[in-house]
């Protein structure tokens, strides 16, 4: 225990503090870079029988990303959590390999050529997005010296979050959902950033209001029922998320937005009743919307009857069926990198449905490992929340990791047919700039909170009064 020093008979906690564990992080990062490079070699050997020519480039790119990330953390957040960066690097690296592997597919190439006239590989773009994402991560660690600064922007972030949520309504729908903002030179998916911004708002808001929401309640059937007027906030958020569902026809953002609020409300107030209310409200709302919104109905039908001929005809895609076949043909150990047929999914094979490729080529075994890596990221987030000393940091960390976990659940559940498909992307794995950027930012904020939480408190200044009284003698 290096953080304990013995002075005389007293044992005090020195300001030397906890071990920073940066070397552990470095070792894990080396591991997290080597595994994707191995996967890359694996794909090349399976498809072409030789090591892929771009391997050195991608390997170097990944090493560079990880190295820069590590050095910045070492310098600017020395007490941050040692696992988050390696886990994120690992997922990002695996995502790059998966996207590159799907770029090699002849089927997807032909499909793109017949649909858009030309095929452009997504892997180089994804590497570029990863670099920009890491730059954002670095910027957060450099400029956000203390996460409590974010508390000042509670209501600004509410406004920004709402604007970002509403914005896609004014842009044309793509593939049935309005989740994109087309700025001409770049297409953004604001929903990805909204989860961070709203986590900041909810954390700031609930920190102030949690006593009112937690204490004023009546006990009924073993549950604490909130007063009618305290139901206001949850009803407002519920109405907003339903409006997103109706006007943007985006199940994913709506679910994430409402789920995030319920998680944070539960953590802030420790009242199970909020979870019950949240589940009832979301189930009721979804059921009502599903009765009149054709896009939602389609998704529900595709979920209930993925193999039905009629549904495939009416929705015009057999993605879910293909995805389920992919998981099935993967079996326990998978077909091996580059040897599956998950490219049959066609559209969105490397974004929304990327998990099907993991399931087919790495099998149940690989799938469990990948889900565990996601689980570990969420676990680290909750651990950071437990360690954080200020209520805002606690709520923010739990909100960010909750949103991350919820997103993984919603996407994985959709692809595997557990819940209706929602059209969100798998964090870090899926191809898409907004997602990679937002998730690197999320990891950056979590690392900042964890650095503040684990940083040893500065040694208390010796009290001048006390010393003077010792000197004076009668």
């Amino acid at each position: 225990m290096s953080n304990l020093t013995t002075t005389g008979s007293n044992t005090t906690v020195s300001s030397g503090g906890l071990p920073s564990r940066r070397n552990t992080e470095l070792a894990m990062l080396v591991f997290a870079v080597l595994v994707p490079v191995f996967a890359y070699a694996n794909v090349g050997l399976a498809i072409n029988g030789e090591l892929p020519s771009g391997m050195l480039g991608y390997g170097c790119g990944l090493v560079l990303l990880a190295g820069v990330g590590h050095l910045v953390v070492r310098r600017y957040a020395p007490y941050a959590d040692p696992l988050l960066l390696p886990l994120a690097t690992m997922l990002n690296g695996l995502g790059l390999v998966l996207i590159w592997r799907l770029d090699q597919s002849e089927r997807l190439r032909q499909r793109a050529e017949s649909a858009f006239g030309a095929f452009s590989p997504d892997a180089p773009k994804q590497l570029l997005y990863s670099a920009i994402g890491l730059a954002l991560f670095v910027a957060i660690l450099l400029f956000l010296k203390d996460h409590r600064v974010l508390q000042r922007y509670t209501y600004i972030s509410m406004a920004v979050g709402l604007v970002l949520l509403v914005l896609p309504m004014f842009f044309p729908a793509r593939n049935g959902a309005r989740i994109w903002v087309d700025l001409g030179f770049i297409n953004l998916q604001p929903g990805e950033f909204v989860k961070i911004i709203l986590a900041v708002f909810f954390a700031g808001y609930l920190m102030v209001k949690r006593d009112a929401l937690a204490l004023a309640s009546r006990r009924f059937m073993g549950m604490y029922l909130p007063r009618g007027r305290d139901l206001g906030p949850i009803l407002v958020i519920w109405a907003l998320s339903l409006m997103i569902l109706v006007f943007e026809t985006d199940l994913g953002t709506s679910l994430l937005f409402f789920g995030l609020f319920v998680i944070m409300l539960y953590v802030a107030t420790e009242r199970t009743s909020w979870i019950v209310f949240g589940l009832l409200l979301s189930a009721g709302g979804a059921a009502v919307v599903a009765t009149f919104e054709p896009h939602v109905q389609e998704r529900v039908q595709a979920w209930l009857h993925p193999f039905s001929e009629e549904v495939i005809q009416s929705t015009g895609s057999d993605q879910i069926a293909q995805s389920l076949w992919a998981f099935g043909s993967g079996g326990v150990l998978g077909t091996g990198w580059g040897q599956g047929n998950s490219d049959l999914i066609g559209f969105a094979a490397n974004s929304d449905f990327i998990l099907a490729t993991v399931g087919e080529e790495l099998g149940l075994t690989g799938m469990m490992a990948v889900l565990l890596i996601y689980g570990l990221i969420v676990e680290r987030g909750v651990r950071i929340s437990l360690a954080a000393r200020d209520p805002f940091g606690k709520l923010l960390a739990v909100g960010l990791s909750g949103a991350f976990g919820l997103q993984v659940f919603v996407v994985a559940g959709g692809v595997m047919g557990l819940i209706p498909l929602t059209g969100m992307t798998m964090p870090f794995l899926a191809s898409g700039g907004s997602s990679v950027l937002a998730n690197w930012a999320l990891i950056g904020i979590l690392l900042r909170i964890s650095d503040t939480a684990r940083r040893p408190a500065p040694a208390p200044a010796p009290s001048p009064d006390a010393e003077m009284t010792q000197v004076v003698r009668p």
Partner: protein, 168 residues
């Protein structure tokens, strides 16, 4: 590429992926089994210096938080001041006192500093009070604290108008 090589690589990759997950979990082992580690150090510290102990304590059994001897305090009680009657269970965590809103015990007292004092267990499980450079000082019985000091059971610690005690 021969079928055999590809199979070996396929299984090899899965093994490496799982190795990564397992090593990650090893890194956070202290989060999962943290109590065992503290318990071992506590026992070693106990073995090193039994004579300094005013009252013999039983060696810790079970988790590090439980079984810290029969005379170990289990709660902190506020006996005077606006928070009279408040108790905090002592479970091995550091308790901070002050006007800052993130303190464990938030003192609403003009004579308290925002980070006034903290109470924490040392590695033998004795509870220590330390003044954090407060303006008006922290008093144990009648004496003003200058160094971190072990807290006897039921000794009043005074901060401004607030008095707290450790009790069994």
């Amino acid at each position: 590429m021969s079928e055999l090589t590809l199979t070996v690589m396929r299984l090899g990759f899965l093994a490496v992926l799982w190795l990564f997950v397992i090593v990650s979990i090893q890194v956070i082992r202290s989060d999962l089994f943290g109590t065992r580690v503290t318990q071992r150090t506590a026992r070693r510290a106990e073995a090193q210096r039994p004579p300094q102990r005013p009252q013999p304590q039983q060696p810790p059994q079970g988790g590090g938080r439980r079984g810290r001897g029969r005379n170990a305090p289990t709660k902190l009680v506020v006996t005077e001041g606006s928070l009279t009657g408040t108790t905090v269970a002592l479970q091995g965590q550091t308790i901070t006192l002050g006007r800052a809103h993130d303190s464990t015990i938030v003192l609403d007292d003009d004579y308290a500093s925002s980070r006034h004092a903290r109470i924490y267990p040392d590695r033998d499980g004795k509870w220590i009070v330390e003044d954090l450079g407060s303006t008006n000082g922290t008093y144990l019985d009648r004496t003003r604290l200058t160094t971190p000091t072990p807290i006897p059971l039921e000794a009043p610690i005074r901060i401004g108008k607030t008095v707290i005690e450790l009790r069994k």
